[in-house]
């Protein structure tokens, strides 16, 4: 279980009272999202609807079990759609 720094992008910050950065203990994306939802209940519904997670600049849209480590740069972004 790693101590992660999770940064919120865009509209997500407004659900967290404007706070941009959170410390979360987790080893993969699912754990990170679950613990973040517990820390910030107002974010939970948004997280449950789906967000994109940028890990070291690569966007992970769906894979819950993508591993996370303490050195990762983690950004939560709105759910993305393409054409």
């Amino acid at each position: 279980m790693a101590q992660l720094t999770v940064q919120l992008g865009g509209t997500l910050q407004s659900y967290a009272g404007g706070q941009k950065t959170f410390q979360v203990e987790a080893s993969n994306i699912r754990e990170m999202l679950t613990r973040l939802g517990q820390q910030v209940p107002a974010l939970k519904a948004v997280l449950d609807r789906g967000v994109a997670v940028a890990v070291d600049g690569q966007i992970i849209r769906e894979a819950w079990f993508h591993p996370l480590t303490a050195g990762n740069e983690i950004f939560l972004l709105p759910k993305l759609a393409g054409g």
Partner: protein
């Protein structure tokens, strides 16, 4: 799966060649079956009644006379679809209006009849009692206090404290970092302006079409033209309340999608009619319906401000984007806000976006949704700034370009990316040195798109003659069957012609996300590589059994199983065909599979250079030269990569010069047809020159990046910058149609520069 190492030394045998596409012959001879070509015994004709009003309360619908007409087999309204409160409610209400018609063309009822004539008569017999309401179709007007409100339960999200009054603003979002006010104080030059883009349609030649056949036992089949038949299956099943496993959807050949076929419009209606009539029902949209009732992209209103130091470094950048997404929340403003400044390495950046609803059709995705509009505004200011500080426009961009290690304007830090290489390629190209004449101008622009992966499942079957059948679940909208065959052939060490790739139906393969986000060559391609390697492992195991040696003593090289070394034994290599011929005796069929979340799609950047000539007497713009340099990571089929580049540019030129949804004061669309809504044709465009840049994506064994969308991001600004260069006036609104350019020239009192 990471990049195969070392990438620079990797040589490809099949990938990177340019064979003919497997669907080509069928398409040029008329054998290919598109959505409207589907048929079935006892087929009924489905037609949809649409609102003539931009905004109206539906007080009642009387279908009794239509039902009584001979030949009418079913009529459906919103009463035939159970209401819902989940994320599909907007889709449901867009498919069939409930208590209000929210735009001209909104479906209110549908019939299934024995002939088209009877269906048309039946529509006229349906009596809808409307109470016409005030409407709004312009994004800025819709945001004003006192504007007609479309949804009395829409309270702007992303605002603290949460509003208590309903409005047309669905969402406020904000991205950025640093301190823009401090950054602007450091600037030597600051430019700001406001810009507008109009809504444009994806303009696919094939209208939406589908055939639904729901049997009495509740089992059904649906044929349709779509970018995602698994999405269609799941959505229709939910809207109709049937089990997903009972509905089998087959994707037809597709005559263009560009994002516009990533949702449902007529498919649930056809299913509901078929279910009610007990007969197959086909619905084919008219062109008028395509324009009025399928998704165009958003129109936008934007303010951009950029400050630079004396030496041309950007000190701060800010933007406010207002996108209307039609009658429902969900314009691509968040993606526009993230893409707006993504090309640049900025210490101080802030973008605010507003998602706004209007009495227009619900927007649908269109290639790099949200990005082209934002890029138009930002790259226009970049062009003006380069001129103001006396820097070459490419040098100015290079000075500020995002590169590996840059903290992007939307947050994450970029890995290896190819923007700098695309700009350098443009600068080195002969087009950039071409001399310009009177009334001619040159424009430069760059653009960014994220690229996605997503849920993907493929199956690769080895046939008894050594050929291979590859089933993928992502409809082919840009030559992807050829690319998949190339990748399978590369891995297996066989000829391209020995692989036949098909788009399998929803009963034959696991779930696949829609073909969107420039994902297919990356994601389905990655799955194909996995599946081929899976099959190779099994083929090696069969060879090992045949030779009586351990499986790990066999390797696969150039299409053959071989002993790994002298210690493994002396055996003649077995070809794929030789192993395939005996599979019935060595353990049964051999197949490779992959089902996974494809992630780590590398982002794409493109730079464009356009030369135009503007006729000062008419305001007409002629495109003289067009150059695209784009990072493909690794081009699997270079011709189709170039085709994606060129297609995006062609559509972008249309958006820049002519295409626009024009609304009357009555809120009705004035130009719902290709005569009045003018897409570019061949004679409007020069040969579009392309340079494929290859900066490998570390998240793919060959380095592939998606290429389908980034190419539409720069053209609006590139063309506008060229026109501005030609006429000496900044035109902040596209399309730059002849009347708009002529009016600007007349107002300015100037002729084109000489």
């Amino acid at each position: 799966m990471p990049l195969d190492n070392p990438p620079a030394k990797r040589s490809f045998k099949t990938v990177g060649t340019r064979p003919l596409r497997p669907d080509g012959l069928d398409k040029v001879t008329g054998r290919a079956r598109f959505g409207a070509d589907a048929t079935a015994p006892g087929l009924l004709v489905g037609r949809i009644l649409r609102s003539p009003h931009a905004h109206a309360k539906i007080k009642s619908i009387d279908i009794s006379k239509a039902l009584a007409l001979q030949g009418v087999k079913a009529v459906v309204t919103s009463a035939d679809f159970a209401d819902r409160t989940d994320g599909l409610r907007d889709v449901l209400v867009n498919v069939m209006a409930r208590d209000k018609a929210l735009y001209e063309g909104h479906a209110v009822a549908a019939v299934a009849a024995s002939t088209a004539e009877v269906a048309r008569k039946a529509l006229k017999l349906i009596k809808v009692d409307y109470e016409v309401l005030p409407h709004v179709t312009d994004v800025d007007e819709a945001m004003k206090p006192g504007a007609p409100v479309l949804h009395d339960d829409m309270f702007t999200k992303g605002v603290e404290p949460a509003p208590t009054k309903a409005s047309n603003i669905a969402l406020r979002c904000e991205f950025g970092h640093g301190d823009v006010e401090a950054g602007f104080k450091q600037a030597a030059v600051i430019l700001e302006d406001s810009f507008k883009t109009e809504a444009t349609h994806q303009g696919y030649i094939e209208p939406h079409a589908c055939l639904a056949n729901i049997a009495a036992d509740g089992q059904g089949e649906l044929w349709c033209c779509t970018q995602g038949h698994f999405m269609v299956r799941d959505t229709c099943a939910q809207l109709l309340g049937i089990e997903v496993s009972k509905l089998r959807v087959t994707a037809s050949e597709i005559g263009g999608g560009f994002g516009g076929k990533t949702t449902v419009f007529i498919e649930p209606v056809a299913c509901a009619l078929s279910k009610k009539a007990g007969r197959p029902v086909k619905i084919v949209m008219t062109r008028d319906e395509v324009f009025k009732a399928s998704g165009p992209t958003s129109s936008a209103s934007m303010d951009v401000k950029i400050g630079v130091s004396k030496d041309g470094r950007i000190t701060a950048a800010s933007a406010t984007l207002r996108y209307q997404g039609g009658a429902f929340a969900g314009s691509p403003v968040e993606m526009g806000a993230m893409c707006a400044f993504a090309c640049y390495d900025l210490e101080n950046v802030k973008v605010v976006g507003y998602d706004v609803v209007c009495n227009r059709p619900k927007q649908a995705a269109y290639r790099a949704p949200g990005a082209p509009m934002a890029a138009f505004a930002v790259e226009s200011i970049m062009d003006s700034l380069a001129k103001k500080i006396g820097l070459d426009p490419i040098d100015f961009r290079l000075k500020n370009a995002a590169k590996e290690g840059t903290k992007s304007s939307y947050g994450p830090t970029f890995g290896p990316i190819g923007l700098v290489e695309t700009l350098q390629a443009c600068k080195a190209h002969k087009n950039y040195a071409a001399k310009l004449g009177k009334n001619q101008g040159r424009g430069v622009s760059s653009g960014f798109w994220f690229n996605f992966g997503g849920q993907t499942c493929v199956s690769l079957n080895v046939n008894i003659d050594g050929t291979v059948g590859l089933s993928v679940g992502t409809p082919d909208i840009g030559g992807s069957r050829a690319s998949m065959s190339l990748m399978a052939a590369e891995e297996l060490g066989i000829a391209y012609e020995q692989v036949k790739t098909i788009i399998a139906d929803t009963a034959s393969l696991g779930y696949n996300d829609v073909t969107d986000g420039s994902r297919v060559t990356f994601a389905s391609g990655l799955a194909t590589i996995h599946a081929a390697r899976d099959a190779i492992k099994k083929l090696c195991a069969r060879a090992a059994k045949t030779w009586g040696i351990p499986e790990d003593a066999v390797v696969w090289e150039a299409g053959h199983a071989k002993p790994a070394g002298k210690n493994a034994g002396e055996f003649e290599p077995l070809s794929l065909a030789e192993i395939a011929a005996t599979v019935g005796n060595t353990g049964g069929p051999v197949a490779g599979h992959c089902e996974f979340n494809a992630e780590n799609a590398g982002p794409a950047f493109a730079s464009h250079v356009v030369d135009v000539e503007v006729d000062p007497a008419t305001g007409r713009t002629t495109v003289l030269r067009y150059l695209i340099a784009q990072d493909a990571g690794k081009a699997i089929h270079p011709t189709y990569v170039e085709g994606q580049f060129q297609g995006g540019a062609a559509q972008g030129v249309g958006w820049a010069l002519n295409e626009e949804y024009i609304y009357g004061a009555d809120g009705k669309l004035q130009n719902a047809g290709f005569l009045d809504y003018r897409v570019p044709v061949c004679s409007d465009l020069p040969m579009i020159d392309t340079v494929i840049v290859e900066v490998p994506n570390p998240g793919h064994p060959y380095g592939v990046r998606g290429v389908g969308e980034a190419s539409i991001v720069p053209p609006l600004a590139a063309v506008a910058n060229a026109v501005s260069d030609a006429v000496g006036i900044r035109l902040p609104q596209v399309p730059l149609s002849p009347p708009r350019v002529l009016a600007a020239l007349t107002k300015d009192g100037r002729n084109a520069k000489s």
